[in-house]
């Protein structure tokens, strides 16, 4: 009885190739998973660091707005008018003795 001729030695080679592809796919999957978390804002590295540092309290700025009103009460009385007449004055220094006055008329 003749022995079957030996075929190509596929078994071990195919297994090595499959393992390699598996590793690549697993790596790609892990990378995609981490990239996805990173994109979602869950950086594992940062989370780990944040977990190590206790959260700082939020600073709240308290403003106090204070209005101070200082009132000097002037006792009401009748109007005091300086009686003036038609005059023309002249001389050196300040040419007029009193400043202009704005008042109700």
């Amino acid at each position: 009885m003749a022995e079957p001729s030996p075929g190509p030695a596929r078994g071990p080679a195919f297994g090595r190739l499959g393992a390699g592809w598996g590793a690549v796919l697993l790596f790609a999957f892990v990378v995609a998973l981490l990239a996805g978390r990173l994109a979602a804002g869950d950086d594992p590295g940062l989370l780990a660091r944040e977990a190590a540092v206790p959260p700082r309290p939020r600073r709240i700025l308290v403003r106090r707005f204070e209005i101070r009103r200082i009132v000097h009460h002037l006792p009401p009385s009748e109007p005091i008018r300086n009686a003036t007449s038609a005059t023309t004055s002249a001389g050196g220094g300040p040419e007029w003795s009193s400043p202009a006055v704005t008042r109700v008329s």
Binding site: I67, L74, A90, E95, P99, A100, V104, S105
Partner: protein
């Protein structure tokens, strides 16, 4: 040798003061001569623009039944100034309230008459509220036709210059004396300042308290104008026992009781200052500060308390001030 002139006389129912410093050109009349000439000019303006003189140009205009009436440049300018004041005050300073002012008892001049007690008037006055513009705004129907030398308005619409004429005349006199070193024109509290000297050394203007007559603040101005509006001089008692004054709420045609008895305003001109002061008083305490914020001023509350508003310097006496917020 005389260099300056300080002249006081009565006109427009008020005290007028002309302060004129030396001329800057040798050929100009002396300060005293210039002041005398300007006194005549002021008196002429007063005659022509008086609501109380039946022979005045303004009275003739108001009595005219035509829609379009010939008017002199002076009258056209005065009416234009009144319309300008109405526009920038949002209709509060309304020059067409002649019917209303006569109805409340101000048909004739009150010069020389002793005013009623403002304290009593305030005690009897209705609740305080800001004045409002007349919804009919008849001043919008008045047109000054410069090229035709006329003024158009619906028959029956009459013009009352009020304090506007004083501010306008003060500004006009300052402009006429442009070549004098320093000019201060006080038309019954509406003051215009001109000349080059006040720009080098500011002119002091004292603000008088409407009740006590005391100086409550000294303004220092390099030009422009300042004016005061208030109730205390023109207060009277009506036949029904109620009190009235000459500053009307355009919406009601009745005297405005806003919570303020006086307001002083600084402006680029006496006309602007007069308009701002009257607007501030009519708007009442809550809105007056906004009116005076740009150039500064003072308001006097019904209580007599004085409040400084805006950028008017630090020289103050006996004043109420509002502190700044601290954060």
């Amino acid at each position: 040798m005389r260099f300056a002139s300080d002249t006081t006389f009565r006109s427009m129912g008020s005290e007028i003061r002309l302060i004129v410093d030396a001329p800057l050109t040798a050929s100009s009349p002396s300060a005293a001569e210039a002041a005398a000439r300007e006194q005549l000019y002021v008196e002429d303006c007063a005659r022509r623009l008086s609501r109380f003189r039946p022979e005045s140009e303004l009275s003739a205009f108001n009595a005219d039944r035509l829609t379009e009436v010939q008017a002199s440049p002076l009258l056209r300018t005065m009416i234009s100034a009144g319309l300008w004041a109405a526009r920038i005050s949002g209709g509060l300073v309304d020059p067409t309230l002649v019917d209303q002012i006569e109805r409340v008892g101000y048909a004739k001049t009150r010069e020389g008459r002793v005013p009623a007690s403002l304290k009593d008037a305030l005690a009897a006055a209705p609740p305080r509220r800001p004045a409002q513009p007349d919804p009919h705004a008849r001043w919008r129907l008045v047109r000054v036709e410069g090229e035709r030398g006329t003024v158009r308005r619906p028959p029956g619409v009459r013009i009352d210059p009020g304090g506007i004429a004083k501010g306008l005349i003060a500004d006009t006199v300052v402009a006429r004396l442009g070549h004098y070193r320093r000019v201060v024109v006080d038309c019954g509290g509406d003051i215009a300042i001109g000349g080059v000297a006040p720009q080098l050394e500011e002119e002091a203007v004292e603000v008088e308290h409407p009740l006590t007559g005391e100086c409550v603040h000294t303004l220092r101005l390099s030009g422009g104008g300042v004016a005061t509006s208030g109730l205390n001089v023109n207060v009277w008692r009506r036949q029904d026992g109620s009190y009235a004054h000459h500053l009307l709420d355009p919406a009601t045609g009745e005297p405005a009781w806003t919570g303020l008895i006086g307001a002083t305003a600084v402006g680029r001109s006496a006309l602007e200052a007069e308009t701002r002061a009257k607007t501030a008083l009519l708007r009442g305490p809550s809105q007056a500060r906004a009116v005076l914020a740009e150039h500064g001023g003072l308001i006097v509350h019904d209580s007599g308390d004085v409040e400084l508003v805006g950028p008017i310097g630090d020289t103050r006496r006996g004043l109420a001030t509002i502190g700044r917020g601290v954060g």
